[in-house]
Subunit: 249 residues, 4 copies
């Protein structure tokens, strides 16, 4: 993606020092690295908003794993960050890829009109229900009346004109699913972020990678806190006290 001579460093064709540093924010640089082009203003706002939305969720398993790793190896911060992102798997972050795959499988070309969007959404919901599969990006255990991040992303996308076919389809899928459900089925942040990233042109194969970088920033925040006020050893004691062992023998 880049190369270096004695006088200059280029990344994706741009002169790093003159054209990128001080000119673009880190989110836009990340977008450049992943897509090969700099984002337009609206794209930069949305991409940054997604990265901001996903960075921290409090003392999640990821944050705990990172802090516990730091307890044993404070001299190798990179290892604690790695441990923190390794939990970014199917359970919590699979939603991005699942959403991306669902939205992108519905047709190569953008739908012509709203009626077609609704037809595609209905077909998706019917297929998932027939197969007994959970619709990705729909439903939330806590934010039952709607995730505040979802609403904000939609607002930003409308404001900046970046509502594309994937967001449209995602919204239609949610409406279709919610219409025939007995429990609240809001569009959750994972689903909305996935749709936004699809409209921004991020490949399905790295949707989760975008979230991982966001989480890495959150993890470093936790490590900074852990360095100031460690909780790793308390967690250890806590776990040993709380878990009553039933040895197998």
């Amino acid at each position: 993606m880049g190369f270096t001579t004695e006088d200059e460093i280029r990344v994706q064709g741009y002169r790093l020092a003159d054209e990128l540093m001080g000119t673009v924010d880190f989110g836009s640089m990340f977008y450049l690295l992943v897509t090969g082009r700099l984002p337009g203003h609206g794209e930069a706002v949305l991409f940054n908003a997604v990265l901001v939305a996903l960075a921290d969720h409090g003392l999640t398993p990821s944050a705990l794993a990172a802090r516990l790793t730091y307890t044993g190896a404070p001299e190798a911060v990179q290892g604690a960050v790695a441990a923190g992102v390794l939990g970014a798997g199917s359970v919590f972050l699979g939603v991005f890829e699942d959403t991306g795959r669902m939205l992108r499988a519905s047709g190569e070309e953008a739908p012509h009109d709203e009626a077609e969007v609704r037809r595609r959404a209905k077909r998706i919901v019917d297929e998932y229900r027939a197969a007994g599969k959970r619709l990705p990006g729909i439903g939330h255990p806590i934010h039952k009346s709607g995730d505040p991040r979802t609403a904000r992303l939609l607002e930003l996308a409308r404001e900046h004109g970046t509502v594309g076919p994937h967001i449209q389809l995602m919204l239609a899928v949610q409406q279709e699913a919610a219409a025939s459900a007995s429990v609240p089925l809001p569009l959750n942040a994972g689903g909305m972020c996935g749709a936004v990233l699809c409209d921004l042109g991020i490949d399905t194969s790295v949707l989760r990678g975008v979230a991982v970088v966001s989480r890495a920033a959150g993890v470093v925040g936790h490590l900074a806190e852990e360095a100031r006020a460690p909780i790793g050893r308390s967690l250890w004691t806590l776990a040993e006290d709380a878990v009553e062992y039933r040895p197998l023998r």
Copy 2:
């Protein structure tokens, strides 16, 4: 650092959806997560510039490790990102902490005047030379006449008024070291980034962590490229062909 209720999500005291998303860029969010406060405008520019500067360096060992990991486990992108950041150790990224420790060890209080800055710099250079230790942040194998990123960061820091005691001391250390050396000893990007981050108030314990997040973005860029145009298997063949094995037995 954050918590969640049914209606809102707070991070470092801010309402995530209303106060951060769409308002701050990802670099500023990262700064908030690490330091507990939002950066001022100049601080945001400099922090983002450091993150932009360090994100990619072409096909480094980190990028190669990530791509090779992706070859075996494309379904677990988080593992490839983790492999990519695990090489961010003493050889390539130790310079941040070493620089931070050197600069911060020279005195709690900011120096009163330029003469004191020079005295401190001379003391540091003398101590390192007496101990036969390499000065961190000084010298570069390729950019002998000066790393373009270093010059750009200094320019930005001056423009935005964020030149603090650490940058001042680092510059003085470089001058002192170069004055008595027979080879060019420019201030390299690692040393300059370390000084900038110290002036921005980043704790020494997470200086490397900041660089790791920047690298993670670069690694995801490489993985996006690897997904489109894989080189992992060619690297494998290349390595097997190139390395002649001398079995020990």
Copy 3:
């Protein structure tokens, strides 16, 4: 799994110092940790043989990723080992779980006679072919006339009386598949190891974990060699020279 008092350390109920150290080999200890009981003699031979079989495969992507990580962070060997095992994903090591799942899905109870084994094998082959899925554990790009590890494991299992329903079914699946194929379809080492581990009572969820520990030993072997005679930096140069970059811009 274990606990510690001032006088003793117990693991899975055994006194570590008196009952395990010097009494059981590391492979048997690993078996104890995973299953909760010590293996019988034949089980220990087979479990160790599987671990020996999978430990090294030369300069694989895993070994390369570990060596490249060591190049950047030689002070954090644990990070290089971690990078080495992170490539143990679906492409190279998924075969264990896939095989285990295939064999275990064919029926809770062991088949009564050989005819039933053949019927189950036929059903499996038919199902996979109908679904257009590749049979796990069958076929090999290099060892077309049979993987020497497969033959050796079968020989050992017969010699030690540990041929159980999973090995029987796996052999029958291979015969059934090969009978109607135009290319050689030997039972490969991954498939045989998976079947052996199933007969040894290893849970499907940790089949890959067993292989990962074996690989970790191989990775440490590579790191020992890398410390003596480094190739990491040559790989870097090699990659930069070999890969012609086509920047996206």
Copy 4:
């Protein structure tokens, strides 16, 4: 270390299938991979005993980090294993390298007689005390009257004739240190394992790597238990309840 043809696979010069599988245990294979030669009988007993000794320590930070990672990414067991070994850093596992470096720095040649061993030990203890440094491998927070693993390793080394200059020196260092101390200073398991591995010819650079593979086996044991009876989510709740957050703002 190895290579493959259509008919055979060789590792460190041995034919994998015929000469190693079923013949050597996994511990001996690991020794072969790291040192390039198969261990003698006594060496195999001691190397295995060290691997057995270090494999599990109950719900340590490593085990917890692995389980929490598995909670988020159960489909990528290799990531959970990696997270588990990443905490194997300076705090818990640095003792191996520190011990190895201390013992090996005391002289290239083996000491001629016991008096010289005592002189070297005294010099080491004096140097460490003068520098205010902690002696590695000495002292234990729980096993104050002696770690049962240390005694067992010594017994095995004596029984199998593998007591070499490093064990001798380590014992003398402990005696010298304890003689002039007001608190009990037993030789701990880390120090003893380090000395045993030095006498077995393991390079200092991979001493920690040996321990990491042992830990990896313990981690997979924990993951097997986690798959059967998960505690990851309880740990999450436990941590959120127990840690009272003091946001910085």
